[in-house]
Amino acid sequence: MRSAATSASNRWPNRLAAAWRQALGLMHAVLVRPHGELSYEQVDDPRPGPGEVVIELQAASVNRRDVAVRRGVYPFPLPLIPGSDGAGTRRDTGEEIVILPALGWGESEEVPRGDFRILGGPDDGTYAELVKVPEANVYPKPCRFSWGEAAAFPLAALTAYRALFTVAMVRAGETVLVLGAGSGVSCRGSRFSGRRWAARATSPHSSRRSTAEAGGR
């Protein structure tokens, strides 16, 4: 185990290296390379266009979609930086924010616009020190959330919320069967269950099923 003094002194070279990269306009990011490997590399900083802001990320989270992007399920040109979820600070204002990963959704609750995309393919995503996003996709980070918690919820929570309320329109007295206990969407969907309706999460894996039944959702 390292002493506190040792770990503090070890941080300075890292900070110097980070300052040097920033001066050169370089950042660390994870890229999906052809054949689906994840590669941790130094790449150019994102250059924001009109209406876009650069976020200095503190945390990101993994979604099933990222695995599909890596495996080439989508026809996106490679290499690209995957990742839909992220939280960090706006480089221009210093504001602590969480990213809404639905780009160009539009005004309709029911259906997205034709140019709707999810951040992290084809647009470069949050597996990086920096990401550029439209200013409209930046929301204040709830102060009770840690960086990790803030980065964990957007895509899964949006998916669960839309499935339950926009599409299924769950009502008082109803019970929802949530498949895939342990997934981000399942955990979020089960948590949305309130006093007026109930969610029951299940899974073909007995350990995940028992965790869900024990309230681990």
Binding site: L38, A59, A60, V62, V67, G184, C187, H205
Partner: protein, 32 residues
Amino acid sequence: VIDSVRPLAEVAGAHARMEAGVHFGKLVLGIA
């Protein structure tokens, strides 16, 4: 619900955990 937190550089481990279906909750990557 957070399953685990690991540094960005170790994201391959998070993908492997998700593909194995053994996680319970979100896999978080620390960046700064």
